[in-house]
């Protein structure tokens, strides 16, 4: 186990000041479900001096509706996200994704932004937050900046945040009550397993069944999470048919190969992603 000093600041400002002072000699801990494993395996930099505990900061613990947005404090735990009524109503896809993270014990500790900054390609909540076009609020000392969630990822387990920056909030526009959203996790067992693949979709149709909004993100397919624009463009403005859904699945598989190359797992992933998109779309859109 690494040796370190442990500090529990009383408020966000103090936490920000500590980070600015210690930079890469400090690590933040919230849920700790990834960090404690790394601490024990001594995987962190040798210069580690201090662990700053932000798990009890009230300022990072809100879920609120503000105009057209839902704003979530970075320290909100998965169990809270999964059962929150606002999120169920306006972002069902996120509620579904949060409810299948890890196990009850992990969901009682792990936090929404913890899952982002560790940037696992198999993270369950990331595709859901991507289709919600989420925005991060980042603080460095007293300065604040915003960044689209999709732009924070640099590669597997890598984010482009500085060591003195802290993500304090994530927010997104509420989905229209006419929109439908859905999340499926595919794993070898139902609980305590990493996703083999997961899919998050938002879809909306008008009265003539034309698709007016479609957002698709699939986890574990590409090194950097994102939306599958080619497939979305194919579906947008169209009245969906089974044939069109098949074509959308094909587009996603092509995009996966373009971005990740033809890998040992491609033979498995290609038919599976086609089948997942078929399953989700048939569940949430009216097909002609």
């Amino acid at each position: 186990m690494h040796n370190f000093n442990f500090i529990r600041p009383d408020n966000l400002e103090e936490a920000c000041d500590l980070l600015v002072r210690y930079k890469d000699r400090a690590k933040l801990i919230a849920g700790g479900t990834d960090l404690i494993v790394d601490l024990r395996e001594e995987k962190l930099a040798n210069c580690l001096e201090i662990i700053i505990d932000i798990s009890n900061l009230e300022e990072l613990n809100h879920i609120k509706e503000e105009g057209k947005y839902i704003r979530i404090g970075s320290g909100v735990r998965h169990a809270e996200i999964a059962k929150n009524k606002l999120i169920k109503k306006y972002a069902q896809v996120l509620s579904m994704a949060a409810s299948v993270v890890g196990s009850p014990q992990i969901r009682n500790r792990g936090t929404i932004v913890g899952n982002i900054v560790t940037a696992s390609p198999a993270a369950d909540t990331i595709p859901a937050l991507i289709v919600l076009d989420s925005i991060l609020v980042i603080r460095k000392g007293k300065e604040k900046r915003k960044m689209f969630l999709k732009d924070v990822f640099e590669g597997p387990n890598k984010v482009n945040l500085k060591s003195d920056e802290i993500v304090c909030e994530i927010y997104f526009e509420k989905l229209s009550l006419d929109a439908k959203s859905y999340f499926i996790k595919l794993a070898r067992r139902n609980a305590v397993d990493k996703s083999r693949m997961n899919i998050a979709v938002v879809a909306q149709q008008n009265k003539s069944k034309e698709i007016t909004d479609i957002r698709i993100s699939v986890g574990s397919l590409t090194p950097i999470p994102g939306r599958f624009k080619d497939a979305e463009d194919l579906l947008l403005g169209e009245i969906p048919t089974q044939d069109l859904i098949q074509k959308a699945g094909k587009k996603i598989a092509e995009e996966m190969i373009n971005k990740s190359g033809y890998r040992w797992s491609t033979e498995y992933k290609e038919p599976v992603v086609k089948s997942l998109i078929d399953r989700v779309l048939n569940r949430i859109v009216e097909v002609e």
Binding site: F4, I29, I36, L39, S55, Q105, R109
Partner: protein
Amino acid sequence: MANKEIELNIKVNNKDYKLFVASNKRLLDVLRDDLGLTGVKEGCAIGECGACTVIMNGKNVCSCMILAGQAEGSEIITIEGLEGPKGELHPLQEAFIETGAVQCGFCTPGMILSSLVLLKNNPSPTEEEIKEAISGNFCRCTGYKQIIEAVQLAAEKMRRGGI
């Protein structure tokens, strides 16, 4: 760098403690080594098996995934805290014995604590709800059927007994 000690104030099984522990200890280490509560088991130590489950402020958590300092000011219940005032067993413990739900016993404390959180929030759970509630606790003897029966029996006992 020398390891720094931190002061830790916690309530464990309804008793207040003020401890001085190394800052890199986990809650699991504090409970087992400093307080001698060896009913808390260390299994995988990576948050997957649930053998180290304790109840922290009403929620079941893996004590291997919490640094000691993060437990400051919290209320912890371990399996030892389920004992009644005269040393009697908790209805969940009785039910685990009666249904043969204990095999090697390593997962049992965690199983019982996850089940207790469930029954406190939901006195009449369905089989599916029980499975979901204990999905973070692995029984490698694989005696899940008896464990589910035990939780059902305990639910009945607790409803009758008003616990």
